[in-house]
């Protein structure tokens, strides 16, 4: 029993796969998802609806004050619009996928692959997010710009782009790490959704984090979630305020990169410990 388990763990190749492998997996994922493109098109309705709701809320509530938490009404509306568009770009379900593979035992196939499963999952993310850029993010961006009557262009476009890429990577790392709970629990679905709820609240996808009490904000920043979405979004509004302090764009992007590196290290350790629990028994 014990030797068998150790053998399974030994069959793994850590290290960067060839670039061709990324492209091949990503393009297959693109094809797989393109077959279900009508599912993605649901976003063309739900995305703009979420935007309209938030726009109406901001307009109704800030009618007298003209803004809140350092942002004008237009700034708040732009924040919510970009939250939806960037949300499509960084979206990820590596947690669900990994837990499904472990529960069914199909993960064993990945132990036999000449690449670590995390690389495989990341390539898949590249594939389906490339499709989402085409089918979700760009169309919704156009629709939202039509509503606003002007193209929705973020401030600090360069830093914003870098920050979205970092958020994209961080989202994957955080989700993959929470997916590792599948190695420890038989049914991890409830826990996964708890984490998802926490992620969506603390990433600032619903409301800017600067609305939270000042005393709570430092604790929020100790979690990885605000660094996924809130940082790129606040760069886009041009008002980067964390726990009551204003930051320069380059400083905040450097901090974000630091959080990414830290999370990667934590993921590497968690992955090592969790994989050892794998029994290749599922169903």
């Amino acid at each position: 029993m014990d030797t068998a388990r150790r053998d399974l763990v030994r069959i793994e190749v850590i290290g960067l796969p060839r670039p061709g492998a990324f492209v091949a997996i990503a393009s297959v994922t693109w094809k797989e998802w393109a077959a279900f493109r009508s599912h993605m098109l649901v976003s063309l309705f739900s995305g703009p609806m979420r935007f309209l709701l938030m726009m109406w809320i901001w307009k109704a509530t800030t009618a007298r004050s003209g803004g809140a938490v350092g942002l004008t009404t237009e700034g708040l509306v732009a924040y919510s619009a970009l939250a939806i568009v960037v949300g499509f770009l960084v979206f990820d379900f590596a947690d669900w996928n990994l837990q499904m593979l472990v529960r069914t035992g199909a993960y064993v196939n990945h132990l036999l692959h000449p690449m670590h499963h995390a690389w495989f999952a990341f390539s898949q993310k590249l594939g389906h997010r490339a499709l989402a850029l085409l089918l979700e993010a760009v169309p919704v961006w156009i629709l939202v710009s039509l509503f606003l009557g002007r193209p929705l262009v973020p401030r600090n476009p360069g830093w914003f782009a870098v920050s979205v890429v970092l958020g994209f990577l961080l989202m994957f790392v955080v989700n993959y790490a929470s997916g590792l709970a599948g190695f420890w629990l038989v049914r991890a679905e409830g826990l996964r959704r708890c984490i998802l709820l926490l992620r969506d609240t603390l990433s600032g996808s619903v409301i800017p984090l600067s609305f939270f009490p000042l005393a709570v904000q430092p604790f929020l920043l100790c979690t990885p979630y605000p660094w996924i979405l809130y940082i790129p979004l606040s760069l886009a509004t041009g008002h980067v305020e964390l726990a009551g302090r204003i930051y320069e764009p380059h400083a905040i992007v450097a901090l974000q990169a630091g959080v990414l590196v830290g999370s990667l290290l934590v993921l590497a350790v968690l992955d090592r410990v969790s994989r050892a629990k794998f029994l290749a028994a599922g169903g």
């Binding site: 599912h39 739900s46 709701l53 509530t61 629990l185 679905e189 409830g190 959704r193 708890c194 709820l197």
Partner: protein
């Protein structure tokens, strides 16, 4: 068979569905507890947003924080009644059609829609009911007890709200008979329904009457809460009419799309 024993058979069937639904979830209690909590927590998001807005000095015009939270509490109560009973049918239909097991429902000696509802009981959605009670309780705590008439109005409008949710569940399940495996169909519904989770004064003036025609999202929570608060019930009869039409439309959609079921799965 007499009418009485027929009715008893139907009730027994649905109770068996409830019993099975609970038994399945009790097989893993930790997961069940986490699911209960998350079903409650997810629905608290609009209330969190509302509370944070009011904390930041922003308000929905004409509605206090307690009033606004009451709308969200009522929304959760309606969902907490409706979702455990038949919310799961959307998910079930999607799964069964995709796997190719939906045809088994057609072999059962009941209407397939009823078989679908019986299998739908999902105990984790009771978390929504608990959440609704908590929110409504909090917002009513400081208020005077409403009289009999507002309470009767509230109870009937709650019924209306549950019917809107039932009609939506049937319409979504029908779509999933032909739109195979699209679990995102919930998002279409949620996109419309969240408009009903906030006081109607957030909508631009000329759009406010949209809440009672077509998809009557105002009937989900705004109207029952207004009855409790003694606020005007604008367009309530329109809402009743729209709900009737919605239910009739959903049922005929089910019948039409069921005929287009293609039994290919696995």
């Amino acid at each position: 068979m007499s009418l009485w024993s027929k009715a008893r058979g139907h009730v027994a069937l649905h109770l068996e569905g409830v019993r099975l639904g609970i038994a399945v979830r009790l097989s893993d209690r930790l997961d069940f507890l986490a699911s209960l909590l998350v079903m409650m927590g997810i629905e608290f998001l609009p209330s969190l947003v509302t509370a944070l807005l009011y904390r930041g000095g922003l308000t929905f015009p004409g509605w206090t924080l307690h009033d606004a939270i009451l709308v969200q509490g009522v929304y959760l109560l309606a969902k907490g009644l409706a979702y455990p009973l038949f919310g799961g049918m959307v998910w079930n239909t999607a799964n069964m059609v995709r796997e190719g097991t939906f045809e088994l429902l057609l072999l059962l000696p009941r209407h397939p829609l009823q078989s679908c509802v019986v299998r739908a009981f999902d105990a984790e959605d009771l978390g929504k009911l608990a959440g609704g009670l908590a929110l409504a309780g909090w917002s009513m705590a400081g208020m005077d007890l409403p009289g009999i008439l507002p309470l009767v109005g509230f109870a009937s409008l709650m019924g209306l709200s549950v019917v809107v949710l039932l009609a939506s569940a049937i319409a979504m399940s029908s779509l999933l008979i032909v739109w195979v495996g699209n679990f995102r169909v919930y998002e279409i519904f949620e996109g419309l329904a969240t408009l009903g989770q906030f006081p109607p004064t957030i909508l631009p003036k000329r759009l406010r009457s949209l809440g009672v025609v077509g998809f009557p999202f105002a009937a989900l929570a705004v109207l029952p809460a207004s009855a409790l608060l003694g606020k005007p019930l604008d367009g309530v009869w329109w809402a009743v009419l729209s709900t009737g039409l919605l239910l009739a439309g959903a049922l005929s959609l089910w019948n039409v799309l069921l005929r287009r079921l293609v039994g290919a799965g696995g």
